[in-house]
Symmetry: C2
Subunit: 203 residues, 2 copies
């Protein structure tokens, strides 16, 4: 996890640096990249803003220049991960889209744990930053799946008797939950379970 | 959340009290009951052993007499919740068992957030207490579901072309994930999604 990243040796504090594109942007990106590594190594409880600042070699104040709070930084890591993925438009069948995402997620150390930790936190009343991220995220994925399920029903590739809304929520839940189970018990087969879901959705 | 519980006014420290059955047992039970309330009110980050001790009106040391660490106490709350539920043997169809459990879980403030937080934590390498709870828990539920799915296939109520192992993991994942989605977005219908899963499992 301690692979050096570009810019790691550039240790001056970026006070006011965010406006000096592209240096501020590069530093911000470095913070996001290193945060997931610190999280994977330290776990949630020892991933404080201070621990991340130490790992990157910037001051705590410099970190706060880019991200207003620990919660904001951690949510931004998840947003960034979505942005990176957003570039590859996946035109394959419904459940394959989820399988591709799931297999990618479990391949990045700390990512599923970070996602799960932030998601669990978003269920708490004071975690508005997390909730403002997760509620629209789920809504977006549900909408994408509803469109694909409806299109599949019109094309005759998905059984006509499933309600797209209920099915979309189920597919997301299955994908999220299988990633956790697999990380705890490698004999759980994400691909096999999602393929099974795909098969029972056929007409 | 601040409903007084039996024994709340009994404030002497229970040093050595665990052996004086039933007083130690009652105090231990009180700690478990109040912990979930403190978690629901404070959230994970502010549910320290000290915060729980303050809420119950015992010393931090007294709390450590019953539970060796915060992680042990929080895992014990989940174990206790399973024990309470274990009393009611549910003979209904496969997915109904999960639906009954899911509906009960989301009705207890803080329970899904606590479960999700501890589960996310168990993905971190140093969280052995949590992992030693969740790995066998998932194994137990998968085994229970595999037996029911196999029995259903023999009885002709479940389609013969689903692999019981893959289906069991999928049902647990769906149930866990739907509880989270519903807490974030009440229009997500746990019952409808699980009923749909039930329906597409029919021969």
């Amino acid at each position: 996890m301690d692979v050096p990243r570009p810019g790691t040796n550039d240790r001056e504090t970026p006070r006011g640096g965010a406006s000096r594109y592209p240096k501020g942007v590069a530093r911000r990106q470095e913070i996001l990249d290193r945060t997931i590594e610190v999280f994977a190594t330290n776990g949630a409880e020892r991933t404080s803003l201070r621990a991340i600042a130490d790992a990157i070699g910037v001051s705590h104040a410099a970190l706060l220049h880019y991200f207003a709070s620990r919660e904001e930084l951690l949510v931004e890591v998840l947003r960034e991960d979505e942005r990176v993925r957003g570039g590859s438009h996946d035109e394959s069948e419904i459940v394959s889209v989820m399988l591709n995402a799931a297999e990618r997620n479990v391949s990045i150390p700390g990512l599923v744990a970070l996602y799960s930790t932030m998601l669990a936190g978003s269920l708490e009343t004071d975690k508005t930053v997390s909730r403002e991220y997760f509620v629209p995220r789920f809504e977006r994925i549900r909408t994408m799946l509803i469109e694909r399920i409806s299109a599949g029903q019109k094309a005759g590739t998905v059984r006509a008797d499933v309600e797209p809304e209920a099915m979309a929520a189920l597919i997301i839940a299955a994908s999220d939950g299988l990633q956790t189970q697999w990380l705890l018990e490698p004999k759980v087969d994400i691909a096999k379970s999602l393929a099974l879901l795909n098969r029972i959705l056929e007409p």
